[in-house]
Symmetry: C2
Subunit: 244 residues, 2 copies
DNA sequence: AGAGTGAATTGATCTTGGTCAAGGCAGTGA
DNA sequence: TCACTGCCTTGACCAAGATCAATTCACTCT
């Protein structure tokens, strides 16, 4: 059971599970499995019956929905430390979106039935899951606000601010975590718009971009440019709380 | 304690409280009070410490946030059967938005401390609150999708479809629940855009509008016009579940 | 009935981002 | 090294919705 120990060490401190007694954690992990997936692999499809949910150890997963007329809307891109499909337990046992591997990923696959069962047993688990859901809620709230009020360059700046360690002074260098096209879809814009908006952002805030690496000369300047049209002060409240 | 009985009868079957044992309900209502408020009354402000949360018995409440540069973004408009401010319990005891009476309203004001205490005691309450939060989540998901993919006339049509009893055949007549300006802000558009989009909708789907009353000749035609750009079939899943 | 108020409509113009088309650039594989 | 592929960028044009300004409409108050 070496694999199980690895899984346990990675997952037991994840947001929805903190503070749970060990036997509940064991119950949750009863049917867990560590998996590796290649880019492009489809994990599940919107409205399919949900038997598994997942925890991201490494890599990136794209969540999206498809409309009747075929358009694809990206819901989120999840990285290490995030869960996906876990909310199906409260939503008639169906997935609320489709999920596809965006960059080669290592996942823990878990059983939704186990989650349901343990939720019924453990009050602690229910409470931390509640906190987790509330955080998700807040995150979506901000997403709605951002999409409504921010311009394309501001949305990119906001994305960058969330990448950099905000406590740092002076010049900071970061790397875009995945393709620009994917970032664009994550931010709800077209690749062309992303490209142009990034150019504008360079002019306006003095950042420098070469390939995937971004040099932010003054975090302050980025904040001034972006956070005016936001209802909460920077650093954003949801930054410290991870898990999708 | 006549007032308490009135309150209890109205609130005990609300989504987050269903299936709770009577003593827990009593605990929740310990510091409850029935209130009447005039239009324009500010209930609480974004990021203020949250001591009360509310249940809407009658009327309409506007939820919104204000950005640093003064723009107001409407989060939602809540009617009878909805809660507001209840999520503060999981969000560091702060309100996630400001709330203002949009149309003369009757509310039950409840104590967040009591909610917190009872959540700690009752596993049932935690579980139904969890379901409630999941529904909210789904609702927000749809909101994001709609704002991204629907045109202004489609958003209005979607709003109308949610007003009419969808099972009805033939011509249906509804009434807009509040001012057009308010509906516009709820749908994230300007009043002018709303007006023009409504005209277009009249042409395209044959609906008739006079003042606040709307005559829908064919619900089917409205669906065809709107639901193409949506990822879930009509009738939308979230329709049956109320409570904001 | 008439004045006054706020909501709603309409027109003209502008801005943002989307769409379509054409290249450019970087990494891969023979 | 050279083609091939996919990602990214750039340009020209378009469409949706925002903005600004001017009425018009509906309702209340006197």
């Amino acid at each position: 059971m070496v694999q199980n120990e690895i899984i346990e060490s990675r997952i037991k401190n994840a947001a929805p599970f903190v503070g749970c007694p060990p036997d509940i954690i064991q119950g949750l992990l009863k049917n867990a499995a560590l998996q590796n997936h290649k880019k492009g692999r489809l994990l599940f499809i919107h409205e399919d019956p949900a038997d598994r949910y997942y925890f991201v150890v490494k890599g990136w997963v794209k969540l999206f929905r498809e409309t009747l007329d075929g358009t694809q809307a990206v819901v989120d891109i999840l990285g290490a430390g995030c869960f996906l499909g876990e909310k199906s337990v409260f939503q008639d046992g169906e997935y609320g979106y489709s999920a596809e591997i965006a960059e080669e990923a290592e996942l823990v696959s878990l059983c939704t039935q186990d989650l349901k069962a343990e939720l019924g047993k453990s009050h602690e688990l229910a409470l931390s899951m509640l906190r987790h859901m509330a955080d998700q809620n807040k995150k979506q709230d901000m997403e709605i606000e951002h999409r409504a009020l921010q311009t394309a360059p501001q949305r990119i700046a906001c994305f960058l601010l969330r990448l950099v360690d905000q406590s740092q002074k002076g010049t900071v260098i970061t790397h875009l975590p995945y393709d620009k096209t994917l970032i664009a879809s994550r931010l709800g814009m077209q690749p062309e718009t992303f490209s142009r908006a990034l150019s504008k952002l360079k002019q306006e805030t003095g950042i420098k971009v070469r390939g995937a690496s971004v040099e932010v000369e003054s975090v302050e300047r980025l904040k001034n440019y972006t956070c005016q049209t936001c209802s909460s002060d920077f650093p954003c409240r949801d930054l410290l709380k991870k898990s999708g």
